[in-house]
Homo-oligomer: 309 residues x 2
Amino acid sequence: MGRLTRRYRVRRLRDGDWSERPDTLVVEEPLEIRVGGRAYAVTMRTPGHDFDLASGFLVSEGVVGGTQDIATIRYCTDDSPCARTAATSLQAVATGGARASLPEDGRDHILPPAQPSTETAYNIVEVTLAAGVAPPRPDIERSVYTTSSCGVCGKTALDAVNTTTRWPVAHDATQVRSSTLLALPDLLRAEQRVFSRTGGLHAAGVFAPDGRLLCLREDVGRHNAVDKILGWALQTGRLPLRGHVLQVSGRASFELVQKAVMAGIPMLSAVSAPSSLAVDLAVESGLTLAGFVRGNGMNVYTHPHRVVA
Amino acid sequence: MGRLTRRYRVRRLRDGDWSERPDTLVVEEPLEIRVGGRAYAVTMRTPGHDFDLASGFLVSEGVVGGTQDIATIRYCTDDSPCARTAATSLQAVATGGARASLPEDGRDHILPPAQPSTETAYNIVEVTLAAGVAPPRPDIERSVYTTSSCGVCGKTALDAVNTTTRWPVAHDATQVRSSTLLALPDLLRAEQRVFSRTGGLHAAGVFAPDGRLLCLREDVGRHNAVDKILGWALQTGRLPLRGHVLQVSGRASFELVQKAVMAGIPMLSAVSAPSSLAVDLAVESGLTLAGFVRGNGMNVYTHPHRVVA
């Protein structure tokens, strides 16, 4: 359970006063689930109970229905998983180290890998189905939802974004007044026509540095709301969105920071908490990330020079 | 914009009194994004601004950077898309009907399909890249995150769950007192150790009908939290989870109802709003779905006979 949270130093604004203080971030890391040596799914998750997550996902998908359907479940320890591409992960990969049958007591039975030499040692879970259990056939039975271009360790995910973006944000000289930033969530909410009727929608809005709302989109999926903003920007010839602020209604995940960076947006402001990987990507890409932006205060997690009094 | 919300009749509890009244649901439907005739992504989204969503997703992924990179973007109108499998969707599909170049004004330019005969006519967007623009190579550059086993229309998604589950919930005779149900969110929150430190976690808990918490899991992804519950149940020999209630900290999407049904759970209770497709699946599968379960009240959307005074 040691990797559930991580301490991080933030600049905190409360009632007009700035201070520095430690904040606790929830950890977000990719987990690759392999079945019979083939990559079956990659999900961004909080580490812990990974065998539950992998086997529960297979229950969700109708692949297994009881412990008798699973022969073994274990962590993989490839030699250099960070260098692997998704293509090679689709081949059977020789694994060694951690290996655990499902224990009688039903608890995660995690053995340390023989060579826990890489940071991804605990980011790949390999499930071997029992004899006679049909493996999933993703090409036939299931649709796939593609997520951010990430590998199976955080570093790979960060590097992929920073080498792919056409419009690096690090040197964007935009500055926004803290009072302007504090007002964005209310401006966003005031324009959310559907949320007020259903309570069931995420929103994303892109603002000029003076607080002017340029475009708002709502969706059941927060990533969709942001993609709709990016598509609007593309279709109206506004890409890259340099000098703008992206405000989102909920939390800031890795995926949302990624989308901002890919569109050249230098500032992301979220009403709720950011994840560890969102902060990591913001640090490396040069994006200013603010969280808990509400009423009288906010936390600025990265590159606070863009937030001025 | 006509499909953003849908009216639905619910049983409403407030301060001890039950009534029937209409509620407004946010619509959730699958959207398949095709690039060059190949299925590239399926996402559960709220209809509207679909061309923005598709093109913005391609910006997020680094595939396109401006309108010059896209030749055309249009809705597909396959003859019988509901019958298609994911396998066939990976082949180029002959399309007709809606076709629109990116317009000068940058707005969605939606032409009605020639034969808008199926409900999925607006659930597939086909993007043709401009000459010289490299298509995405999902097998090499990107990882895929597999989502619920859904097709490209809601009906397909519902049918897939109901024909796949090993443990249909329709005839589960469990009953839970409304006062017990009302107490679950606070019980869940009280046990959320990480949320209190970070504010950044979803939670899911499985409860006995008397309100006893059996297992709680937290994760940055709400689907992961539920999968961890299912995996715990599998590994402790508790599947199917007949006679239990699944409580989640946020909203109820199609995906969460699906996971409950796949594990044989007859009741799902959410602190916030359900989506249209979540309600549809609950109706068809026989699951009791409660939403806005907070303090003095709740809405019971489907199969209210399991909630007793």
